[in-house]
Amino acid sequence: MKFLCVPCDSPMKLQSVGPPERGSLSVVYSCPECGYEMAMLTNAYETQVVQSLGVRIGPEAAAKASGTGCPFSGMIPAAEGSQTSEPMPVRWTAAAEARLANIPEFVRPMARTGIEKFARERGALQVDEKILDEAREFFGM
């Protein structure tokens, strides 16, 4: 979708995107010629269609191009909660955490849960790059 300032015959530029509120996004455009501003207010269907494409609107998009968020994160605690006892906490080194942070958001919760389980099974209470490489080796990846 593009917006045109009719009096100036000039394409309008995106200025800001408000966070979704009750399913509606507020996207403000302005005309670079006359400064006229207008807001596009989406309904829930329009908001959802954009989110369903796996994209974000606006300047933040470049930094967050890997997806719209984890669709499954809500399910991971439920799966973990089925365990009878609280597992020992596992610490992540900065380097390992950076590797995890670099992967797309939608697989992060499963990756974290699985790697921590792998570490615990080996008596390790810290996940470092060596553990990550061992996991890969162990599973023949």
Partner: protein
Amino acid sequence: MKHYHDIVGDGGSRILEQVAEQRARITDGLAGVRHLVAVGSGKGGVGKSTLTLQLAAALRAQGLRIAILDADFNGPSQARMAGVEEGLFVPLPSPKGSAAAGSPKVALPRTKDGIGVFSMGSVIPESQALEFESAARGESQTWRATREFALLGEILGAFEWGALDLLMFDLPPGAERSVQYADFLGDRTSFLLVTIPSEVSRGVVARSIAALSKGSNRILGYVENMSGYYCRDCNAIKPLFVADGSPHLGIPCLGSVPFDPELARSCDLGVPFIGQRDTPVAHALEQIAQRLMNSLESGSEA
């Protein structure tokens, strides 16, 4: 007054740019894959997933590098059948070099035989359904298919497919779904269709062929699954369906596979079946796998 195509860019929303970036990530991620095959059928319950896994196993046994992407996100079965329900997702180091070297990837879970498998069944327990956050809750018919294809794109872009001889897509049922996957996956993807020897199934698969034939994806042929019942006591194939002769689907038949309770059991248990070489079922799977590869190789030479 200017029109849409007179204006360069989209004023800053970057939506089209991001969609193009997603496509580029997918193309880059699959650059090392020689062949892409989608296993589909208009009809559900004909054994697409079972055949996908067993053909993959037969080809893996020949030393080929194979992976499966279970694209049936709402009814994933590959995780259980391939024994990767608790598959580990390991983040890999960032690729060295420029941004063109690609984004960080996740290693693909593998079966004991070395088949790479991504299945939503490794992600979500069988007691739960796949859900997406939604601004338009209760109206999923308006957006869900789009979200699922975006997810497929994320999976294709996020995992390390590496150098493969064959990546197989296990599709959900539906003639229209096969066409949607053909559109999304592009011309590189060939299709293998699955039917059973019932007129109902053949009729639905004929519709799948008609729908796919309007596009440019290659249809390699079909497999007739559950083509009789293999009785181990008698060591004989007995009829399972009463259907007339050959189905006349107008595409090559790559072979038929009798139903074998042992194969069904191995799928339920997530253990390999193809090792049972001295059965008609294993022979049939090996032959079909070989014909599939021959067909792919002959097509790539053309």
